[in-house]
Amino acid sequence: MELTEMKNEVYSDSQEIWLEEIMTEYGDKMIRVAYSYTKDWGISQEIVQEVFITCYKNYNQYSKVENFKAMIYKITINRSKDVLRSYFVKKVFVGIDIFSTHESPDLSPESLVLKNDESALIASSILSLPLKYRETIHLFYYENFSITEISEMLKVNQNTIKSRLKRSREMLGHILEGSETYER
């Protein structure tokens, strides 16, 4: 039996089928986006759960959006920023003390230098950048969004995005001492 047919049997309406489809297509991607903000996998799972529930609740509107990909990224980014702004609000709205049960691994550049792992050092250096630089690097280099797309997603001017990319590269250069300047 085809997967789609099985889904049709399990779920009675297109809204739930759509939810399954977007969870399959975007679940893993959104977890990584959320992690790039929160640096905590447990919290990221909670954020993405919320994102999909929001999508489901707004099915009539969201399912017709032409560029759904950009939209779900925007929702996830906004949710992640909300959580970063306020642990308290997260707790109140979701009713779960997510911060008490998850701990972030030690990803500090210093700890990884000791391990002499260059790739891990680069990864941890990116994740140690201030939020506005980290998100720009992640969306540009990891997600491969264009400057225009990032600008629309973050509601930030294109020149600001370019400046942030430039500044991020400089900061990474400082962190990864001894390396030459990044250019792209």
């Binding site: 609000v89 629309e152 020149n159 792209r184």
Partner: protein
């Protein structure tokens, strides 16, 4: 190092991201949550049935008693019409504060919304290092809405959030809370309950109808901001307007039919831009408007200087861009040169300048450190509008 950044995807996927997925457990929780919402049919039917019976009986009773009712004291009928919430007679708090818009919808930041907020729209007096005006955004919540103000400095951002909700919800949020910060401190600000965490650099203030989140500065600074929040300002029922995003697609310059006022050799007409060999051009359009951005490199520090032509078929189609500049930047200078009136704005970090011509809005944007203000005038003056 270029290669290494180009390999970020591989580096992250083979390292930090390896093995991390949106789990089946999470999917199950999502399904459970939506099922819970969908399977409440029995109580709903029961409620409807009981309510129908009740109101049916009530209607029957009232029809029979109508004459007698009218003959009795009419004052008591007037009293029955009084709103349940007398604290703020202008606002029916049984109505959704988000105006029935779906959750998580961006809202237009208009004068009515700005007029309703209690947060300060200028904190220069308490924190002089921030740029003069905040970036403002607003979104609907499930039962209300929030307004977010971001004040930027060179290396920091201060976020202020105002959440508007019913008094019952606000009280509930406050009551159900536990201590979640190990260093949480309880405060009283303007007679209102407040909580602060030094570790999170975050402060929460509760009033009857609003709660505020202040984030991104030390305690003294947050306290100073907290003291200028108008916590006495009552909630008003305002007309929330959905922010309609202007969607455009990237196109080649040649795909734009209307006249483009920026020639490809424009940099040769402006001394300050002459070090550029060519502009970096991006163009976007939709059915009724287009935007062409020419980006140049500053001779001072190589940062971008952008010259943009915004065109709209509609006469006031660019007005929202002008309003946004006016709201978030401070007017530095107004110059009338020949056939155009140039407005020069800054926010402490960036310059933004513009003039309008027919259905076009011409703008220049750059970091203040990348260009002297008079050179911006030169650029805008060099654009030929004939």
């Amino acid at each position: 190092m270029k290669d290494k950044l180009d390999d970020v995807r591989t580096i992250l996927e083979d390292g930090v991201y390896k093995g991390h997925k949106f789990t089946e457990e999470s999917k199950r929780k999502v399904r459970h949550s939506i099922k819970k919402k969908n399977t409440n049919w029995f109580p709903i039917i029961l409620t409807v049935a009981v309510a129908s019976g009740f109101y049916g009986f009530g209607a029957f009773y009232l029809i029979n008693e109508w004459d007698l009712f009218n003959q009795n004291n009419s004052q008591s009928a007037e009293e029955r019409k009084e709103p349940l919430h007398t604290a703020n007679a202008d606002l029916d708090l049984n109505v959704d504060l988000n105006g029935d818009l779906p959750e998580d919808i961006p809202l237009k930041v208009n004068d009515e919304l700005l007029g309703s907020i209690s947060l300060p729209l200028n904190i220069e007096n308490v924190i002089p290092s921030v740029f003069s005006k905040p970036l403002i955004s607003a979104r609907t919540e499930s039962d209300g809405y929030n307004i977010s103000l971001t004040y930027s400095g060179d290396f920091f951002e201060i976020n202020l959030i105002e959440n508007v909700d019913s008094p019952e919800n606000i009280e509930n949020y406050k009551n159900v809370r536990d201590k979640i910060w190990t260093d949480e401190e309880t405060l009283l600000i303007n007679g209102q309950d407040a909580f602060y965490s030094a570790d999170q650099k975050e402060m929460h203030i509760f009033t009857k109808e609003k709660y505020f989140i202040l984030h991104g500065a030390d305690k003294e600074q947050l306290l100073q901001i907290a003291n200028i929040i108008d916590t006495e300002k009552p909630v008003q029922k305002i007309n929330l307007v959905k922010y309609e995003e202007v969607m455009m697609e990237n196109v080649e310059l040649t795909e734009i039919q209307q006249p483009i006022l920026l020639p490809l050799d424009f940099h040769e007409k402006v001394d300050f831009l002459k070090n550029n060999k060519s502009p970096f051009v991006t163009a976007e359009k939709n059915d009724t408007s287009f935007m062409v951005i020419f980006s140049y490199s500053s001779p001072i520090n190589t940062n971008d200087i952008s010259v943009t032509q915004h065109y709209s078929e509609s006469e006031n189609g660019n007005q929202h861009i002008i309003e946004q500049i006016q709201r978030t930047y401070t007017l530095e200078k107004e110059v009338e040169i020949n056939d155009r009136k140039i407005f020069l704005y800054s926010n402490g970090l960036y310059y933004k300048a513009y003039f309008t011509h027919q259905n076009n809005l011409l703008t220049v944007e750059s970091l203040i450190s990348s260009i002297p203000i008079e050179k911006i005038e030169d650029i805008l003056t060099a654009i030929e509008i004939e």
